[in-house]
Symmetry: C2
């Protein structure tokens, strides 16, 4: 068993071993394929807070059978990081993003390789094509890893079968996150301004995928019964929504120094957040137009200030802050009521405060 704060390092170790053992298999296909695999390994190992694996681990701590080793929980956590790699690589194509965590996005990196080597054809199209395929490889490898199968016969493997209950949760999680992403791009183009639609995206794209399903996956590995699993799902949804709402507030009001993103990034990107939906619903007609016209385009400082003023003046920001408090409190109450040991409860509480940026 590792301290919850050390889960990221333990997960990185699994991922490193998995990638190292996969390299010869890709190299056997052709050296160019191994090079592409290196781009994936670099991308996955370059960082990330490993939030999802931490929740898997915290969920595993909640079940009754934690006397055995924790390697299956780390294996499932590492596998989610490969799903996340696919989600980010493909999302960056959808969002036409050039950078992520200060580095070029994967499609931009392949575009740069293509241009730098003076290859034929359209560098941008090559970059997107290679990134689509590399995301697919990450998604396929996520399933191999979760089932304990490495890309090469001589490399990483774990012969223990994945329990069927875990496989079912794994299935639900993948369908939910992809469904949430499909809904997200559809909402953005249909300009669906309803609070319902924004919440539905949060529920599936973020809350289920980031917190609720990971908690359940971990708990299923340590023999949780249906009641415990159900409680963790509810806690996870509340916490995941509080996390996303906090992120939405930071996306408009956050300090670029802290968020690593430009001021008002969510407005500029045209994200249909709950904060925006609340603002549009609550603002006067004139203010609503100001806000609506601030979505999906570059903004001057004055325009950003005006849009922020509508979100504050209409009470939308206060309403979202209230919802964050409510959701977080509901999750914390749920954690207190769990029939689990004190260490498991402490880990979960620590993670809950951490992802909602609350010290206490």
């Amino acid at each position: 068993m590792v301290n919850i704060a050390h889960v990221p390092a333990a997960v990185d170790e699994v991922l490193t071993t998995f990638f190292d053992s996969g390299r010869p298999a890709l190299d056997a296909i052709y050296p160019a394929v191994a090079e592409a695999g290196d781009v994936l390994a670099d991308f996955v190992l370059a960082g990330g807070k490993r939030v999802r694996p931490s929740f898997v681990y915290a969920g595993w701590r909640c079940g009754p059978d934690t006397a055995g080793d924790d390697t299956m929980a780390l294996r499932v956590g590492a596998a989610i990081e490969l799903i996340q790699a696919c989600a980010l690589i493909h999302d960056d194509i959808l969002d036409r993003s050039d950078t992520r965590r200060g580095n070029p996005t994967v499609h931009r990196r392949f575009e740069g390789l293509h241009a730098g080597r003076r290859l034929t054809g359209d560098s941008a199209h090559y970059g997107v094509s290679a990134a689509i395929l590399l995301g697919d490889l990450a998604l396929a490898w996520a399933d191999d890893l979760v089932h304990g199968i490495g890309p090469a016969t001589d490399g990483w493997a774990d012969p223990r079968p994945l329990p069927r209950s875990v496989g079912v949760l794994w299935s639900r999680m993948r369908t939910e996150v992809l469904g949430g992403q499909l809904l997200d791009i559809t909402n953005e183009s249909s300009r669906d301004e309803s609070v319902t639609a924004a919440y539905r995206v949060m529920e599936y794209k973020t809350a289920a995928y980031t917190v609720a399903r990971p908690l359940q996956l971990g708990a299923a590995l340590s023999g949780a019964d249906a009641a415990l699993s159900g409680s963790l799902h509810r806690i996870g949804l509340d916490l995941g929504i509080a996390f996303q709402l906090r992120d939405d507030v930071l996306g408009v009001f956050g300090d670029p120094e802290q968020t690593g993103k430009p001021s008002g990034d969510d407005l500029i990107e045209g994200k249909r957040t709950a904060l925006l939906a609340e603002g549009l619903q609550r603002a006067s007609r004139t203010d609503g137009e100001v806000l609506r016209n601030s979505v999906g385009r570059d903004l001057s400082d004055a325009e950003l200030t005006a849009a922020r003023a509508v979100l504050t003046g209409s009470g939308a920001l206060a309403e979202i802050e209230r919802q964050i408090d409510d959701r977080l409190q509901a999750a914390l109450d749920g954690i207190v009521a769990l029939d689990v040991d004190d260490d498991a409860r402490a880990d979960l509480t620590w993670l809950a405060r951490r992802i909602t940026h609350r010290a206490r």
Copy 2:
């Protein structure tokens, strides 16, 4: 047990049940997501020769334990069709194709929905985005289906676990096809004219994925030993390469009425086929330039005739035809030498002739 010719219908039945039972799960996320799921179901069920499931079934017939039911072989075959759906949907983005089997490609279909409903943003970018996500869903569902897990709790399911030996082959197959695709786009942009590179793409993108691994997957389900599995792999690679070489010849010399594609389509699309590589290697400098200049652009009738003449005159076409004969003969000899019952041998022989377009 079904007749080998009836495998496509039996696989379609599994797929239909799977999609039908998945619809409520997508609808619960949001109706727009169920609509996207319908596009996937339509795409998968609209056709295809179900070559890969047929080889899974033929492989299953080869193993010693075929007394039990064949539903696991059909389940694995149906799952490969979902991988194939992802491969085709994403490939059509990579190739910028507008139609497939006479219908709009998936990204074009979403583009049309976006434009028709006068949604905001760039319709073409929306189409590509939705198609990337839908391909991802197909890939995730392929893994659910192969493990007997349906997208909804009340719908299709098969509780029997996938044997680990089958899971390992499943893993190899997915890595190989994605590696082959990565290599393919890299060869096209690096203008790698070597016969080796063209063969490597054929081996992984086509032969392993279409014939060799499906045969082994089926055989592993009916208890094949390592010797039988190895023989089927070798037979599958020979047969798969013969199949791809035949396809390459038809891609330049085929009758549009029969192939359903424009005359000389492979040249126009810039595919780095073994036929082209042979032609470039064998042609005189002048003829080589004629051929090289015919790759990756629209061609007049006269230009196409000139390019064909280089392939014929240089002996490249005859060399490829010889290779097709050799590979097919090696596969047929391998099938004769298999220690399997006569019905299994007959099925395999029938499939071998069918995919290489040989009546006898």
